[in-house]
Protein backbone atom coordinates (compact mmCIF):
# COMPACT_ATOMS: atom_id res chain seq x y z
CA UNK A 1 0.00 0.00 0.00
CA UNK A 2 1.35 3.41 -0.94
CA UNK A 3 1.42 6.37 1.43
CA UNK A 4 -0.93 8.33 -0.78
CA UNK A 5 -3.54 5.55 -1.12
CA UNK A 6 -5.47 6.76 1.90
CA UNK A 7 -6.23 9.97 0.03
CA UNK A 8 -7.77 8.30 -3.03
CA UNK A 9 -11.36 9.18 -2.05
CA UNK A 10 -10.37 12.78 -1.42
CA UNK A 11 -8.40 12.95 -4.65
CA UNK A 12 -11.33 11.62 -6.68
CA UNK A 13 -13.77 14.04 -5.08
CA UNK A 14 -11.54 17.03 -5.56
CA UNK A 15 -10.54 16.21 -9.13
CA UNK A 16 -14.19 16.26 -10.18
CA UNK A 17 -14.35 19.85 -8.94
CA UNK A 18 -10.84 20.82 -9.98
CA UNK A 19 -11.66 20.44 -13.66
CA UNK A 20 -13.61 23.68 -13.34
CA UNK A 21 -11.61 26.78 -14.15
CA UNK A 22 -11.45 28.73 -11.93
CA UNK A 23 -11.76 26.01 -9.32
CA UNK A 24 -13.35 26.77 -5.95
CA UNK A 25 -10.42 25.01 -4.26
CA UNK A 26 -7.56 26.57 -6.07
CA UNK A 27 -8.78 30.03 -6.89
CA UNK A 28 -6.01 32.28 -8.05
CA UNK A 29 -6.55 35.98 -7.73
CA UNK A 30 -4.23 37.05 -10.50
CA UNK A 31 -4.16 40.75 -9.75
CA UNK A 32 -5.07 42.54 -6.53
CA UNK A 33 -6.02 46.12 -7.36
CA UNK A 34 -7.11 47.20 -3.91
CA UNK A 35 -8.56 45.82 -0.70
CA UNK A 36 -11.88 45.23 -2.47
CA UNK A 37 -11.03 44.71 -6.15
CA UNK A 38 -9.05 42.10 -8.05
CA UNK A 39 -8.90 40.08 -11.22
CA UNK A 40 -9.46 36.33 -11.60
CA UNK A 41 -8.36 35.15 -15.01
CA UNK A 42 -9.87 37.66 -17.40
CA UNK A 43 -12.62 38.82 -15.05
CA UNK A 44 -12.49 41.84 -12.77
CA UNK A 45 -14.17 41.04 -9.48
CA UNK A 46 -15.26 42.68 -6.26
CA UNK A 47 -13.43 40.86 -3.48
CA UNK A 48 -16.09 39.67 -1.05
CA UNK A 49 -14.36 36.45 -0.02
CA UNK A 50 -11.65 37.70 2.32
CA UNK A 51 -11.35 38.47 6.02
CA UNK A 52 -10.30 42.03 5.30
CA UNK A 53 -12.97 43.35 7.66
CA UNK A 54 -11.58 46.84 8.13
CA UNK A 55 -10.10 47.03 4.63
CA UNK A 56 -6.64 47.92 5.96
CA UNK A 57 -4.51 45.84 3.55
CA UNK A 58 -3.70 48.95 1.52
CA UNK A 59 -3.75 51.42 4.39
CA UNK A 60 -1.13 54.03 3.57
CA UNK A 61 0.18 54.40 7.10
CA UNK A 62 0.56 50.63 7.45
CA UNK A 63 2.38 50.37 4.14
CA UNK A 64 4.66 53.24 5.04
CA UNK A 65 5.44 51.70 8.44
CA UNK A 66 6.18 48.34 6.83
CA UNK A 67 8.38 49.99 4.22
CA UNK A 68 10.34 51.82 6.88
CA UNK A 69 10.81 48.62 8.91
CA UNK A 70 12.10 46.83 5.83
CA UNK A 71 14.66 49.55 5.33
CA UNK A 72 15.88 49.75 8.90
CA UNK A 73 15.39 46.18 10.18
CA UNK A 74 15.59 44.06 7.03
CA UNK A 75 13.37 41.41 5.51
CA UNK A 76 13.32 38.78 8.24
CA UNK A 77 14.46 37.93 11.76
CA UNK A 78 15.92 34.58 10.63
CA UNK A 79 15.16 32.93 13.93
CA UNK A 80 13.04 32.33 16.97
CA UNK A 81 12.61 34.77 19.81
CA UNK A 82 13.86 32.28 22.35
CA UNK A 83 16.99 31.16 20.52
CA UNK A 84 17.84 34.22 18.49
CA UNK A 85 16.29 37.05 20.45
CA UNK A 86 13.29 39.33 20.12
CA UNK A 87 13.43 42.60 18.24
CA UNK A 88 12.40 45.72 20.07
CA UNK A 89 9.38 45.90 17.79
CA UNK A 90 8.08 42.50 18.93
CA UNK A 91 8.05 43.68 22.52
CA UNK A 92 6.58 47.04 21.53
CA UNK A 93 3.74 45.34 19.69
CA UNK A 94 3.07 43.15 22.72
CA UNK A 95 2.87 46.08 25.05
CA UNK A 96 0.72 48.11 22.65
CA UNK A 97 -1.70 45.20 22.32
CA UNK A 98 -1.73 44.81 26.11
CA UNK A 99 -2.63 48.49 26.44
CA UNK A 100 -5.28 48.26 23.74
CA UNK A 101 -6.87 45.20 25.34
CA UNK A 102 -6.33 46.45 28.86
CA UNK A 103 -4.64 43.18 29.88
CA UNK A 104 -1.34 42.65 31.68
CA UNK A 105 0.18 40.10 29.36
CA UNK A 106 0.33 39.55 25.59
CA UNK A 107 2.33 37.00 23.63
CA UNK A 108 2.76 37.37 19.88
CA UNK A 109 2.97 34.31 17.63
CA UNK A 110 3.81 33.78 13.97
CA UNK A 111 0.20 33.04 12.91
CA UNK A 112 -3.18 32.72 14.60
CA UNK A 113 -3.04 28.98 14.04
CA UNK A 114 0.29 28.84 15.85
CA UNK A 115 -1.07 31.02 18.68
CA UNK A 116 -3.79 28.44 19.27
CA UNK A 117 -1.33 25.56 19.15
CA UNK A 118 1.04 27.46 21.42
CA UNK A 119 -1.46 28.43 24.10
CA UNK A 120 -4.12 25.72 24.07
CA UNK A 121 -1.71 22.92 23.17
CA UNK A 122 0.56 23.87 26.07
CA UNK A 123 -2.06 24.60 28.74
CA UNK A 124 -4.20 21.56 28.01
CA UNK A 125 -1.95 18.59 28.73
CA UNK A 126 -2.93 14.93 28.96
CA UNK A 127 -4.41 15.37 32.45
CA UNK A 128 -6.70 18.23 31.43
CA UNK A 129 -10.19 18.27 29.94
CA UNK A 130 -11.20 20.73 27.26
CA UNK A 131 -14.83 21.60 26.58
CA UNK A 132 -15.11 23.13 23.17
CA UNK A 133 -17.92 24.40 21.03
CA UNK A 134 -18.54 21.75 18.37
CA UNK A 135 -18.10 24.32 15.60
CA UNK A 136 -14.70 25.53 16.77
CA UNK A 137 -12.02 26.17 14.15
CA UNK A 138 -9.67 23.37 13.11
CA UNK A 139 -6.74 25.11 14.79
CA UNK A 140 -8.46 24.66 18.16
CA UNK A 141 -9.06 20.97 17.59
CA UNK A 142 -5.47 20.55 16.41
CA UNK A 143 -4.20 22.42 19.46
CA UNK A 144 -6.09 20.09 21.79
CA UNK A 145 -4.69 17.09 19.98
CA UNK A 146 -1.18 18.50 20.23
CA UNK A 147 -1.48 18.89 23.99
CA UNK A 148 -3.11 15.49 24.47
CA UNK A 149 -6.02 16.74 26.60
CA UNK A 150 -9.34 14.95 26.72
CA UNK A 151 -11.68 16.73 24.34
CA UNK A 152 -15.40 17.01 25.06
CA UNK A 153 -17.54 18.86 22.51
CA UNK A 154 -20.72 20.72 23.38
CA UNK A 155 -23.50 21.72 20.99
CA UNK A 156 -22.78 24.90 19.09
CA UNK A 157 -23.67 28.06 21.05
CA UNK A 158 -25.61 26.05 23.63
CA UNK A 159 -24.61 27.13 27.15
CA UNK A 160 -27.11 24.71 28.71
CA UNK A 161 -25.41 21.85 26.91
CA UNK A 162 -22.03 23.11 28.14
CA UNK A 163 -23.41 23.11 31.67
CA UNK A 164 -24.76 19.57 31.31
CA UNK A 165 -21.42 18.31 30.09
CA UNK A 166 -19.53 20.13 32.84
CA UNK A 167 -21.79 18.60 35.47
CA UNK A 168 -20.97 15.17 34.10
CA UNK A 169 -17.30 15.89 34.70
CA UNK A 170 -17.86 16.37 38.43
CA UNK A 171 -14.80 17.83 40.17
CA UNK A 172 -12.76 17.86 37.01
CA UNK A 173 -14.94 20.69 35.67
CA UNK A 174 -13.24 23.19 38.01
CA UNK A 175 -10.02 23.11 36.04
CA UNK A 176 -11.46 22.39 32.63
CA UNK A 177 -10.66 24.69 29.72
CA UNK A 178 -13.73 26.08 27.99
CA UNK A 179 -13.07 27.26 24.45
CA UNK A 180 -15.38 29.27 22.21
CA UNK A 181 -15.01 31.79 19.42
CA UNK A 182 -16.22 35.36 19.06
CA UNK A 183 -17.75 35.46 15.61
CA UNK A 184 -17.88 32.03 13.96
CA UNK A 185 -16.25 32.15 10.55
CA UNK A 186 -18.83 30.20 8.54
CA UNK A 187 -22.25 31.34 9.80
CA UNK A 188 -21.24 34.71 11.22
CA UNK A 189 -23.04 33.97 14.47
CA UNK A 190 -21.54 34.85 17.85
CA UNK A 191 -21.02 32.94 21.08
CA UNK A 192 -23.52 33.54 23.90
CA UNK A 193 -20.65 34.69 26.10
CA UNK A 194 -22.78 36.05 28.93
CA UNK A 195 -24.48 32.68 29.39
CA UNK A 196 -21.21 30.82 29.09
CA UNK A 197 -19.63 33.10 31.67
CA UNK A 198 -22.58 32.44 33.93
CA UNK A 199 -21.91 28.69 33.72
CA UNK A 200 -18.25 29.33 34.41
CA UNK A 201 -19.04 31.44 37.47
CA UNK A 202 -21.12 28.62 38.93
CA UNK A 203 -19.10 25.55 37.91
CA UNK A 204 -15.54 26.82 37.46
CA UNK A 205 -13.29 26.38 34.48
CA UNK A 206 -10.82 28.52 32.56
CA UNK A 207 -12.28 30.41 29.62
CA UNK A 208 -10.51 31.03 26.32
CA UNK A 209 -12.18 33.04 23.58
CA UNK A 210 -10.77 33.02 20.06
CA UNK A 211 -11.62 36.48 18.75
CA UNK A 212 -10.05 35.84 15.32
CA UNK A 213 -13.05 37.26 13.46
CA UNK A 214 -14.31 39.68 16.12
CA UNK A 215 -11.16 41.57 17.17
CA UNK A 216 -11.36 45.06 15.71
CA UNK A 217 -14.88 44.27 14.59
CA UNK A 218 -16.98 44.15 17.79
CA UNK A 219 -17.06 46.11 21.01
CA UNK A 220 -17.15 49.86 21.54
CA UNK A 221 -13.36 49.99 21.28
CA UNK A 222 -12.89 47.04 18.94
CA UNK A 223 -11.66 44.68 21.64
CA UNK A 224 -14.05 41.99 20.47
CA UNK A 225 -17.10 40.06 21.60
CA UNK A 226 -16.01 39.94 25.24
CA UNK A 227 -16.01 43.73 25.30
CA UNK A 228 -19.33 43.90 23.47
CA UNK A 229 -20.96 41.55 25.98
CA UNK A 230 -19.21 43.17 28.93
CA UNK A 231 -17.58 40.01 30.26
CA UNK A 232 -13.89 40.77 29.71
CA UNK A 233 -13.01 40.12 33.36
CA UNK A 234 -14.31 36.58 33.07
CA UNK A 235 -12.30 35.67 29.98
CA UNK A 236 -8.98 34.22 31.08
CA UNK A 237 -7.26 34.34 27.71
CA UNK A 238 -8.23 36.10 24.51
CA UNK A 239 -6.75 34.64 21.35
CA UNK A 240 -6.52 36.53 18.10
CA UNK A 241 -4.93 36.85 14.73
CA UNK A 242 -3.26 39.61 12.73
CA UNK A 243 -4.53 38.10 9.48
CA UNK A 244 -8.03 39.54 9.47
CA UNK A 245 -8.91 43.02 10.77
CA UNK A 246 -5.21 43.80 11.25
CA UNK A 247 -4.55 42.94 7.61
CA UNK A 248 -1.21 41.15 7.92
CA UNK A 249 -0.15 37.81 9.42
CA UNK A 250 0.56 36.62 12.96
CA UNK A 251 -1.38 35.86 16.10
CA UNK A 252 -1.59 36.72 19.78
CA UNK A 253 -2.76 35.63 23.19
CA UNK A 254 -3.75 38.11 25.87
CA UNK A 255 -3.88 36.89 29.46
CA UNK A 256 -6.07 38.23 32.22
CA UNK A 257 -3.13 37.73 34.56
CA UNK A 258 0.61 37.75 33.98
CA UNK A 259 0.71 34.07 34.95
CA UNK A 260 0.48 33.40 31.23
CA UNK A 261 4.05 34.72 30.81
CA UNK A 262 5.46 31.37 31.91
CA UNK A 263 4.23 29.86 28.65
CA UNK A 264 7.03 31.67 26.83
CA UNK A 265 9.33 29.01 28.25
CA UNK A 266 7.00 26.06 27.80
CA UNK A 267 5.16 26.63 24.54
CA UNK A 268 6.90 24.78 21.74
CA UNK A 269 4.99 26.58 18.95
CA UNK A 270 6.25 29.84 20.48
CA UNK A 271 9.82 28.67 20.91
CA UNK A 272 10.53 26.57 17.87
CA UNK A 273 9.48 28.76 14.99
CA UNK A 274 10.76 32.01 13.51
CA UNK A 275 9.40 35.26 14.88
CA UNK A 276 7.29 37.56 12.69
CA UNK A 277 9.16 39.69 10.14
CA UNK A 278 9.84 43.34 11.05
CA UNK A 279 7.68 44.70 8.24
CA UNK A 280 4.74 42.58 9.39
CA UNK A 281 5.14 43.73 12.98
CA UNK A 282 5.33 47.34 11.81
CA UNK A 283 2.17 47.16 9.71
CA UNK A 284 0.28 45.46 12.55
CA UNK A 285 1.36 48.18 14.99
CA UNK A 286 0.15 50.79 12.55
CA UNK A 287 -3.16 48.99 11.91
CA UNK A 288 -3.73 48.69 15.65
CA UNK A 289 -3.31 52.44 16.02
CA UNK A 290 -5.78 52.94 13.17
CA UNK A 291 -8.33 50.64 14.79
CA UNK A 292 -8.05 52.63 18.02
CA UNK A 293 -8.23 55.99 16.28
CA UNK A 294 -10.96 55.32 13.73
CA UNK A 295 -14.09 53.70 15.18
CA UNK A 296 -15.84 54.90 12.02
CA UNK A 297 -14.25 51.94 10.22
CA UNK A 298 -16.25 49.63 12.44
CA UNK A 299 -19.39 51.64 11.88
CA UNK A 300 -18.94 51.47 8.12
CA UNK A 301 -18.28 47.72 8.32
CA UNK A 302 -21.52 47.11 10.20
CA UNK A 303 -23.59 49.36 7.98
CA UNK A 304 -22.21 47.49 4.95
CA UNK A 305 -23.03 44.21 6.66
CA UNK A 306 -26.57 45.34 7.33
CA UNK A 307 -27.00 46.54 3.73
CA UNK A 308 -25.78 43.26 2.25
CA UNK A 309 -27.78 41.13 4.66
CA UNK A 310 -31.01 43.03 4.02
CA UNK A 311 -30.47 43.05 0.27
CA UNK A 312 -29.89 39.32 0.00
CA UNK A 313 -32.66 38.46 2.45
CA UNK A 314 -35.07 40.57 0.38
CA UNK A 315 -34.22 38.39 -2.63
CA UNK A 316 -35.50 35.41 -0.69
CA UNK A 317 -32.17 33.75 -0.06
CA UNK A 318 -31.74 31.55 2.97
CA UNK A 319 -29.19 33.33 5.16
CA UNK A 320 -27.21 33.06 8.37
CA UNK A 321 -28.88 33.69 11.73
CA UNK A 322 -27.85 37.32 12.19
CA UNK A 323 -26.38 40.39 10.55
CA UNK A 324 -22.62 39.98 10.64
CA UNK A 325 -19.55 40.84 8.57
CA UNK A 326 -19.66 37.18 7.55
CA UNK A 327 -22.73 36.72 5.36
CA UNK A 328 -23.45 33.10 4.46
CA UNK A 329 -25.99 32.24 1.78
CA UNK A 330 -27.26 28.66 1.53
CA UNK A 331 -27.14 27.40 -2.01
CA UNK A 332 -28.56 23.89 -2.05
CA UNK A 333 -26.55 20.87 -3.13
CA UNK A 334 -22.79 20.69 -3.66
CA UNK A 335 -23.30 20.71 -7.43
CA UNK A 336 -25.63 23.72 -7.30
CA UNK A 337 -23.15 25.47 -5.04
CA UNK A 338 -20.23 25.00 -7.39
CA UNK A 339 -22.25 26.32 -10.34
CA UNK A 340 -23.57 29.24 -8.35
CA UNK A 341 -20.12 30.22 -7.11
CA UNK A 342 -18.77 30.06 -10.66
CA UNK A 343 -21.62 32.15 -12.02
CA UNK A 344 -21.00 34.81 -9.35
CA UNK A 345 -17.45 35.25 -10.65
CA UNK A 346 -18.84 35.75 -14.14
CA UNK A 347 -21.04 38.41 -12.54
CA UNK A 348 -17.92 40.05 -11.13
CA UNK A 349 -18.21 38.94 -7.51
CA UNK A 350 -15.73 36.74 -5.68
CA UNK A 351 -16.97 34.92 -2.56
CA UNK A 352 -15.98 31.65 -0.87
CA UNK A 353 -17.62 28.35 -1.62
CA UNK A 354 -17.84 26.19 1.48
CA UNK A 355 -18.85 22.57 1.20
CA UNK A 356 -19.64 20.04 3.91
CA UNK A 357 -18.02 18.81 6.11
CA UNK A 358 -16.39 22.23 6.50
CA UNK A 359 -19.85 23.76 7.02
CA UNK A 360 -21.97 23.24 10.10
CA UNK A 361 -24.85 20.77 9.70
CA UNK A 362 -23.90 19.63 6.24
CA UNK A 363 -25.18 22.58 4.20
CA UNK A 364 -23.46 24.04 1.14
CA UNK A 365 -22.99 27.76 1.33
CA UNK A 366 -21.29 30.69 -0.28
CA UNK A 367 -19.63 32.83 2.32
CA UNK A 368 -19.57 36.53 1.59
CA UNK A 369 -17.44 38.74 3.74
CA UNK A 370 -17.96 42.43 4.10
CA UNK A 371 -15.26 45.05 4.46
CA UNK A 372 -15.33 48.61 5.73
CA UNK A 373 -13.57 49.42 2.46
CA UNK A 374 -16.52 48.29 0.33
CA UNK A 375 -18.44 51.25 -1.01
CA UNK A 376 -22.23 51.21 -0.87
CA UNK A 377 -22.13 50.94 -4.65
CA UNK A 378 -20.04 47.78 -4.41
CA UNK A 379 -22.42 46.27 -1.86
CA UNK A 380 -25.27 47.01 -4.25
CA UNK A 381 -23.34 45.41 -7.11
CA UNK A 382 -22.93 42.27 -5.02
CA UNK A 383 -26.67 42.26 -4.33
CA UNK A 384 -27.40 42.74 -8.06
CA UNK A 385 -25.20 39.76 -8.92
CA UNK A 386 -27.16 37.61 -6.47
CA UNK A 387 -30.40 38.98 -7.90
CA UNK A 388 -29.37 37.98 -11.41
CA UNK A 389 -28.69 34.41 -10.25
CA UNK A 390 -31.75 34.06 -8.04
CA UNK A 391 -33.92 32.41 -10.73
CA UNK A 392 -31.25 29.73 -11.32
CA UNK A 393 -31.53 28.57 -7.74
CA UNK A 394 -34.70 26.80 -6.77
CA UNK A 395 -34.78 27.19 -3.06
CA UNK A 396 -37.45 27.14 -0.49
CA UNK A 397 -36.16 30.09 1.45
Amino acid sequence: MGLYDKFSRLAAERSSLQSLDPSPFGTRIDVVYSSTRGRIGGTDVILAGTNNYLGLTFDEDAIEAARHALTVEGTGTTGSRMANGSYGSHSALESELATFLNRPSVMVFSTGYVANLGIIGTLAGPREVVLLDADCHASIYDACTLGGAEIIRFHHNDAKDLERRMLRLGDRAKDALIIVEGIYSMLGDVAPLKEIVDVKRRLGGFLLVDEAHSFGVMGANGRGLAEEQDVEDDVDIILGTFSKSLAAIGGFAAGRSSEMEVLRYASRPYIFTASPSPSVVASVRSALKTIAARPQLREKLWSNAQRLYDGLAALGYSMGPRVSPVVPVMVGSKEQGVKFWRALIDQGVYVNLVLPPATPSGVTLVRCSVSAAHTSVQIDQIIEAFAALRPSLKLTA
Partner: protein, 86 residues
Amino acid sequence: MFTQDVILENVLVCLRDMIPGAETVGPDSDMVDDLGLESVKMMDLLMKLEDDYDLSIPINILMDVRTPRQLAASLIGYLEKRNGPV
Protein backbone atom coordinates in the same frame (compact mmCIF):
# COMPACT_ATOMS: atom_id res chain seq x y z
CA MET B 1 -25.42 -2.52 31.67
CA PHE B 2 -22.58 -1.02 29.58
CA THR B 3 -21.56 -4.20 27.88
CA GLN B 4 -19.79 -3.99 24.60
CA ASP B 5 -22.71 -5.74 22.87
CA VAL B 6 -25.25 -3.25 24.15
CA ILE B 7 -23.12 -0.34 23.02
CA LEU B 8 -22.47 -1.94 19.66
CA GLU B 9 -26.20 -2.44 19.11
CA ASN B 10 -26.84 1.23 19.96
CA VAL B 11 -24.08 2.39 17.63
CA LEU B 12 -25.63 0.41 14.78
CA VAL B 13 -29.07 1.90 15.45
CA CYS B 14 -27.63 5.42 15.50
CA LEU B 15 -25.73 4.84 12.27
CA ARG B 16 -28.84 3.60 10.49
CA ASP B 17 -30.58 6.78 11.61
CA MET B 18 -27.75 9.02 10.47
CA ILE B 19 -27.06 7.52 7.06
CA PRO B 20 -29.92 7.13 4.65
CA GLY B 21 -29.93 3.71 3.04
CA ALA B 22 -27.43 2.29 5.49
CA GLU B 23 -29.50 -0.77 6.47
CA THR B 24 -26.55 -2.92 5.47
CA VAL B 25 -24.24 -1.42 8.07
CA GLY B 26 -22.73 -4.14 10.19
CA PRO B 27 -20.37 -4.36 13.17
CA ASP B 28 -17.37 -4.50 10.87
CA SER B 29 -18.37 -1.97 8.23
CA ASP B 30 -15.68 0.62 7.67
CA MET B 31 -17.43 3.81 8.76
CA VAL B 32 -15.15 6.04 6.69
CA ASP B 33 -14.52 4.04 3.52
CA ASP B 34 -17.77 2.04 3.27
CA LEU B 35 -20.26 4.40 4.88
CA GLY B 36 -18.60 7.67 3.89
CA LEU B 37 -18.91 9.02 7.42
CA GLU B 38 -16.90 12.21 7.83
CA SER B 39 -14.96 12.79 11.01
CA VAL B 40 -17.45 15.45 12.13
CA LYS B 41 -20.23 12.88 11.88
CA MET B 42 -18.23 10.42 13.94
CA MET B 43 -17.84 13.09 16.61
CA ASP B 44 -21.57 13.84 16.46
CA LEU B 45 -22.30 10.15 16.90
CA LEU B 46 -20.11 10.10 19.98
CA MET B 47 -21.91 13.15 21.38
CA LYS B 48 -25.17 11.28 21.03
CA LEU B 49 -23.74 8.26 22.86
CA GLU B 50 -22.59 10.54 25.68
CA ASP B 51 -26.16 11.79 26.02
CA ASP B 52 -27.71 8.32 25.75
CA TYR B 53 -25.56 7.08 28.63
CA ASP B 54 -25.23 10.39 30.47
CA LEU B 55 -21.45 9.96 30.49
CA SER B 56 -18.47 12.02 29.51
CA ILE B 57 -16.57 10.39 26.66
CA PRO B 58 -13.80 12.39 24.98
CA ILE B 59 -13.41 12.34 21.21
CA ASN B 60 -9.87 11.08 21.76
CA ILE B 61 -11.30 7.54 21.85
CA LEU B 62 -12.12 7.87 18.14
CA MET B 63 -8.47 7.77 17.19
CA ASP B 64 -7.86 4.59 15.14
CA VAL B 65 -11.55 3.64 15.22
CA ARG B 66 -12.85 2.50 11.83
CA THR B 67 -15.75 0.14 12.57
CA PRO B 68 -18.72 0.09 14.96
CA ARG B 69 -17.15 -2.86 16.78
CA GLN B 70 -13.93 -0.94 17.32
CA LEU B 71 -15.92 2.06 18.54
CA ALA B 72 -17.73 -0.02 21.14
CA ALA B 73 -14.46 -1.60 22.27
CA SER B 74 -12.69 1.74 22.49
CA LEU B 75 -15.54 3.24 24.50
CA ILE B 76 -15.59 0.37 26.99
CA GLY B 77 -11.82 0.55 27.21
CA TYR B 78 -12.00 4.23 28.14
CA LEU B 79 -14.67 3.70 30.79
CA GLU B 80 -12.71 0.87 32.37
CA LYS B 81 -9.56 2.91 32.44
CA ARG B 82 -11.37 5.80 34.12
CA ASN B 83 -13.69 4.00 36.49
CA GLY B 84 -12.44 0.43 36.79
CA PRO B 85 -14.32 -2.55 35.30
CA VAL B 86 -17.84 -1.65 34.14
